[in-house]
């Protein structure tokens, strides 16, 4: 990142700010992460690997990846559609709509699971009908997907709305007036403008989808090797005094989320090359 000194801070201020930010992150993020890894490796690497290779752990990893693979694209499509409608048009009730989209964040995870039980449970509003038709939603994969979609519902939209507000709609209007149709405008004008925001949104959505515990715990039924996601498996191991196993799976989960970093860095690198060539 190049910068002119007329629009930048002095070297001392810069270093000071960096140090302060790193100190804050050190206390609040790195230290807890270290605590997790130190617990996981307490009994050496062998115990760590055994914990991860356990068939129940592997089943949990598969399920977690499956859940994320279903729920993240759904929320991505929703996020893009919602932010297009909200930022490119003005209509009454726009703030209400934005607030309703935020709502899942403010609902306690305990309640996020409960609502699906109240809806689809055996004594829920739709439960008897579902049971009569042999459809299983809660205590099965569909319920876990629903709870995850609910929990991660606002992520992409929330990331895109401020960004697209900031960008306005001049670019798109110009494209339309030059004869592009809606899809062309979206693909060639809007998407390149919002790609970083979209990527962040998807990464956050993915991280949260994989890490969600509270809501999923209510609707999963905790059946070993079947409906246990990684966070649930962590809890179960922890409750069985298998601290090493619990923290091993937890650190794996953290590492899995950090894998997305590699993807992001690769993309950044590619795009930088592209835009570098253009300018």
């Amino acid at each position: 990142m190049s910068r002119q000194h007329s629009t930048s801070e002095g070297r001392a201020a810069r270093l000071g700010l960096i140090a302060l930010a790193l100190l804050f992150l050190g206390f609040f993020l790195v230290l807890p992460l270290l605590a997790v890894f130190s617990e996981a490796l307490k009994q050496g690497l062998g115990a760590f690997i055994d914990a991860v290779k356990n068939p129940d752990a592997l089943a949990a990893i598969r399920l977690t990846l499956l859940i994320a693979a279903i729920s993240v694209p759904l929320n991505m499509v929703f996020g893009v559609a919602a932010s297009w409608a909200i930022t490119k048009f003005r209509f009454p009730g726009r703030n209400l709509l934005v607030t309703l989209i935020d709502l899942p964040f403010s609902v306690s995870p305990v309640v996020s699971g409960l609502i699906f039980v109240l809806l689809f449970g055996a004594n829920g509003y739709l439960g008897p009908w579902l049971a009569a038709h042999g459809v299983k939603i809660i205590f099965a994969v569909p319920g876990i997907v629903l709870a995850t979609v609910f929990i991660t519902f606002p992520f992409v939209a929330r990331e895109l709305i401020p960004l697209m507000m900031e960008q306005g709609k001049d670019d798109e209007e110009a494209a339309i007036s030059l004869g592009a149709n809606g899809w062309q405008t979206f693909w060639h004008v809007t998407l390149p403008n919002i790609r970083w925001g979209l990527l962040y949104g998807v990464l956050l959505c993915n991280a949260r989808a994989m890490g969600e515990f509270g809501a999923v715990s209510v609707v999963s039924g905790h059946i070993r090797g079947e409906t246990n996601t990684m966070p649930l498996h962590v809890e179960i191991l922890y409750n069985e005094y298998d601290f090493v196993g619990a923290f091993a799976v937890a650190s794996l989960l953290a590492a899995l989320a950090l894998v997305t970093l590699v993807v992001k860095s690769l993309l950044e690198w590619r795009f930088d090359l592209h835009s570098g060539a253009k300018h």
Partner: protein, 283 residues
């Protein structure tokens, strides 16, 4: 030019851009199916219990103390995050230093770590015998099992919201406005407070609001570090769990309803404030 733009619904302002029907319809339908219908069950259940009982459970002495604690600590954590989240976003966007990519990735960590693991890890650090707690204890500072501990857990949970809300807007903000300001003789502090800050303020408020809203409902990471003493360190979501343990679904939904309405009002207020502000700035 596509014909859609001429047959727009008359309740929205005119626009030459297409796709309103598709995106608005999809947004509304998906929102209704995934969020509104499920959340309606909360209201239905709590409505079934009658007003008197609702007040008895939802506004009991103990519940009020829990709301105060949950909303108070969430607001405190949101403010800490707004301040330091802005700093972290600024450093990540504007400066380059070794290991920046790693630092950037770490910011997402609180989302990925199951909340219970975060709670256990934080307790291990801040408990009186923990890595940091043991040095604070002689100074008379108690962190774990006090509201400070709850705030720390919520800072951890909420940080990515602020950083990731501010970061894209900050990255998108061109250098040209700052250059213009500098050319006009503004110093760095003036440029920041008069040019940069107003541009990122909406994103910062969004980040704060999201971190706050998430903090109010957080359960998994907080129960380990809060101590759960009734009336002192008992958070509102714990009361919901307590009701469920008594098979009192209606009682649980009563507390959930109160929490949700308060959060909704706060979020709606912040969103409206932002929109008004934006209109005044003429954006």
């Amino acid at each position: 030019m596509p014909t859609t733009t001429f047959r727009r619904p008359d309740w929205r302002a005119p626009s030459v851009l297409p796709g309103f029907g598709l995106t608005f319809g999809f947004t509304l339908a998906w929102l209704t199916l995934i969020v509104l219908i499920p959340l309606a069950t909360i209201f239905l259940r709590s409505a079934g219990m009658g007003w008197h009982e609702f007040v008895a459970v939802g506004f009991s002495h103990r519940a009020l103390a829990a709301y105060r604690l949950s909303f108070g600590t969430a607001a405190a954590a949101g403010l800490v995050n707004a301040l330091f989240g802005l700093l972290v976003a600024w450093v990540l966007v504007r400066y380059s230093f070794p290991g920046k990519r790693v630092v950037s990735a770490l910011v997402d960590l609180p989302f990925a770590l199951p909340t219970a693991v975060a709670g256990i890890a934080l307790t291990a650090i801040y408990a009186p015998t923990g890595w940091i707690g043991q040095y604070l204890e002689p100074l008379g500072i108690k962190v774990a099992f006090t509201p400070i501990g709850i705030t720390i857990a919520l800072v951890f949970i909420g940080l990515p919201f602020v950083v990731r809300s501010v970061e894209p807007v900050l990255a998108d903000l061109g250098h040209d406005v700052e250059e213009a300001a500098a050319t006009l003789g503004a110093n760095r502090v003036q440029t920041f407070s008069q040019v940069i800050f107003p541009a990122i303020a909406p994103a910062l408020v969004t980040g704060f609001a999201l971190a706050f809203a998430r903090g109010v409902g957080e359960y998994g990471s907080v129960i380990f570090i809060s101590g759960n003493m009734p009336g002192k360190t008992e958070i509102a979501p714990l009361l919901i769990v307590t009701q469920l343990e008594q098979y009192a679904y209606a009682g649980a939904t009563a507390i959930a309803t109160v929490m949700m309405l308060v959060s909704f009002v706060i979020l709606f207020g912040l969103n409206t404030w932002q929109a008004v502000r934006r209109r005044r700035l003429g954006a």
